[in-house]
């Protein structure tokens, strides 16, 4: 699809990306390259138990000044405050996050408090920071979040039971270390759902209103890699080629949506996570094909581009037909991966759908959706189809 002449965009991808098996052993060198010497590690208990944090601590050697392992799924402001207090006490001059999206986002919040002080509430909104924050090396242990290359932190406001966004060009991590060995132990379902998170990032980035050709290129390559390698990762978790390619896919899908944003799928998935603890990738996976059908009348050409990127036989098909083929391809993929395809299968009560629709309408992602959404009834329609 050609863009109109009025296309304008800003493309940013400031994060250094280091990829390869055993790259994690170079974490100490990366700390030095940031002109730092006191690295504070943020992680969660699962990563500790898997022995992954220990690898990073060893790689840091004397540069390691402390570890916080209290990160949890749906990290909260209180957790960021606690981590920042400990990092400050340890005299940290940089942060190393080891984990999934919640850990990396917690570190982004911690980087803000370490450098700028105050409370995280002070920085809610868009572009509220005016200078670089504490240096941050992100080491993802899942292949989906993309948070290692984005300028957004999602942190839950536990009092309001809603996820909050902090968006700033000063919270891109400085360095992302992608080591396929760190994802080799991920269980199949977690591999599948986090992988579908990456797929959702790529699809929404290409379809969203702020789409641009460079983000498209990243997103399309991510989609190709995910279709080829995610099923391999799920079936044969120790296939390091597949694990590495899926990591790259997740990261470039992150670059894509950092420059184009996400939409209704994420608005709903954030809410499903906040209200009913539906894992983020699982929520995305269920809603994604329904979002394509919902957005069809506004963005069929964008989804047709995706269908072509998927390698589907769209010759002679209309954009609408090609878009439907893309939605069907996603259903086929999630079926193959063994991921539940209905909200009714993942613990969401039917009488909770209206609440989900209501809260999702306030999610920051929704403003970028391919089709403008102003009413809860529109979201409820998507949820009912996905139930």
């Amino acid at each position: 699809m050609a863009y109109d002449r009025d296309l304008t965009f800003v493309y940013r991808n400031p994060t250094k990306i280091a990829f390869g098996e055993n790259t994690v052993k170079e974490t100490g060198i990366e700390v030095s390259e940031l002109n730092c010497s006191k690295a504070f590690l943020l992680t969660d208990k699962g990563v500790i138990e898997a022995g992954l944090a220990e690898q990073v601590e060893k790689a840091l050697g004397r540069k390691h000044v402390g570890t916080y392992d209290g990160c949890i799924q749906d990290s909260g402001f209180h957790i960021v405050n606690e981590a920042a207090g400990l990092a400050r006490k340890a005299g940290a001059d940089c942060l190393v996050s080891v984990g999934g999206g919640s850990v990396i986002d917690t570190a982004k919040g911690t980087a803000i408090l370490l450098k700028s002080g105050g409370q995280l509430h002070d920085y809610l909104g868009f572009q509220m920071l005016s200078e670089p924050q504490a240096p941050h090396i992100a080491i993802p242990t899942t292949a989906g979040t993309g948070s290692e290359v984005t300028n957004v932190a999602v942190v839950k406001d536990w009092d309001r039971n809603q996820k909050q966004l902090i968006g700033s060009n000063y919270i891109f991590p400085d360095t992302a270390i992608l080591d396929p060995l760190l994802t080799a132990g991920l269980p199949p379902m977690l591999t599948a759902t986090t992988g579908m998170d990456a797929m959702t990032h790529a699809v929404e980035a290409i379809a969203d209103m702020p789409a641009n050709p460079i983000a498209d290129a990243m997103g399309l390559q991510a989609i190709r890699l995910i279709l080829e390698y995610l099923p391999v990762c799920v079936e044969k978790g120790d296939d390091l080629l597949a694990r590495g390619q899926q990591q790259i896919a997740a990261t470039i899908a992150g670059v894509s949506f950092a420059n184009s944003q996400v939409g209704i799928v994420h608005a709903i998935a954030h809410t499903l996570g906040g209200l009913f603890k539906v894992p983020h990738g699982l929520g995305n996976s269920i809603i994604l094909p329904h979002s394509i059908m919902y957005n069809l009348d506004e963005a069929a050409d964008r989804y047709a581009l995706i269908a072509r990127g998927m390698g589907l036989e769209v010759e002679g098909k209309s954009d609408e037909e090609a878009a439907e083929m893309a939605a069907n391809a996603i259903w086929d993929l999630t079926k193959k991966l063994g991921i539940p395809q209905k909200l009714s299968e993942v613990g969401v009560p039917e009488d909770g759908l209206e609440k989900v629709a209501d809260v999702a309408l306030s999610d920051g992602s929704i403003v970028y959706n391919a089709k403008p959404i102003f009413e809860t009834s529109e979201i409820l329609g998507i949820l009912q189809k996905a139930y």
């Binding site: 909104g125 868009f126 572009q127 966004l165 968006g167 060009n169 306030s362 920051g364 102003f374």
Partner: protein
């Protein structure tokens, strides 16, 4: 010394300033007090805004950072008191009052001129780092339609852009705004 913001004297001085500066008919220069007065009236009379903003509660500030080369030597805070589809009032206020608003959208005067000329979409502008938003995101997200209407109206008000006037007119504007800034405190 500036009058105390919110006092009767301040209100009276502000209204007198508007009366004096609106003796000649529009168009006025963007982001001047008289332009804000017309903007206020335009919002108040707009049915589309009333409908889109019927559930909105809270103050919104359009904050333009100083651009001396365009005649604006200090920051400007256009404060809009918005309540359930009504614009109760819109005025240029002192910094402290502006920063205390529920939502503050900040950009350089040049960026705001791009918005008014419909060359820059506010949402994209925030994403791209051209504009800043301070405030509770979930609340303002629910008011995207109303916010978009406010922006549309800023373009519909019309006016003369500061980069369209001559150097002499620019100096004249500066000469008018600075004494007002001292008296009213903006």
């Amino acid at each position: 010394m500036a009058l105390q913001y919110g006092s009767d004297e301040w209100e009276q001085a502000y209204q007198e300033m508007i009366s004096e500066r609106t003796t000649s008919p529009p168009p006025y220069i963007y982001f001047t007090p008289e332009w804000v007065a017309v903007y206020e009236k335009t919002i108040q009379e707009d049915d589309a805004y009333k409908e889109a903003a019927k559930t909105w509660e809270g103050s919104v500030v359009l904050h333009a950072t100083a651009e001396p080369e365009l005649g604006f030597d200090g920051d400007l805070y256009i404060y809009m008191d918005l309540w359930h589809g009504e614009c109760r009032w819109a005025k240029i206020v002192p910094t402290e009052a502006g920063e205390a608003a529920d939502f503050v959208i900040t950009g350089s005067l040049e960026r705001w001129m791009q918005v008014a000329r419909k060359q820059l979409d506010v949402i994209k502008g925030m994403m791209q780092g051209k504009l800043k938003l301070k405030g509770d995101l979930p609340t303002i997200v629910r008011a995207v339609k109303a916010s978009a209407r406010l922006v549309d109206l800023s373009a519909e008000v019309g006016g003369t852009f500061p980069d369209e006037i001559s150097t002499e007119q620019l100096e004249e504007l500066r000469g008018q705004l600075n004494p007002l800034r001292e008296k009213i405190g903006f």
